[in-house]
């Protein structure tokens, strides 16, 4: 899934480690989310969005999610 996590993190001058600690995950998880290899759970997506003061939709791109 595409996200704006890296963009927002760099804009706010926050390291992956700092973001990881703030939302309660490991740095590897943030790396995977930024790389689009891992889709965050709803709770984690909410925590990340809240950290940047945004909504989930503003941080995570759901346009490629397939409808069943």
């Amino acid at each position: 899934m595409k996200t704006r996590v890296r963009e927002l993190r760099e804009k706010n001058k926050i390291t992956q480690e700092e973001l990881a600690l703030a939302v309660g995950v490991t740095r590897q998880t943030i790396i995977s989310i930024e790389g689009g290899r891992y889709t965050a759970s709803l709770v984690l997506a909410y925590k990340i969005a809240r950290y940047f003061g945004m909504t989930i939709e503003e941080v995570f791109d759901f346009s490629e999610v397939e409808e069943v």
Binding site: A20, L21, G24, V25, T26, T29, Y38, L44
Partner: protein, 146 residues
Amino acid sequence: MEKFKAEIRKRMQYLILLFVSLLLIYMVLFLNQERLPRPSDHIISFHGGALTSLGLLLIIYIFINLRAIRDDKELRKLYIKENDERTAMILQKTGAIGINICILGFATATIIAGYYSDAVFFTLLGSTIFVSLVKGLFKIYYHNKV
């Protein structure tokens, strides 16, 4: 975080109990080695290595937990490490895929062993059935739980 700290304290007690039990088992085996049937040297070496490795792992694990109890920063790190959702997903996937490969491997080995040795055949058959049962029971448990 206090709840997690309490959990770590409880875990420490179990780990220490396990370590003491391991030492007792080792001592009992060592002191009664003349009375026990003597396995081959390879098996004795394996037992020694396995017990020592388990003891060392327990010491390392006790040390990690002790450090977390004493230092709040380490406690938070440990909490994150143990509750990271990506790590949990990896563990679930490796467990699920791993057990299927094990069952398949055991089943293949069981068929091949049947041509050579009854003892090996039945041992492998027992293992295959046991692993399959464990998988099946966990599947039923989680289907009802979640």
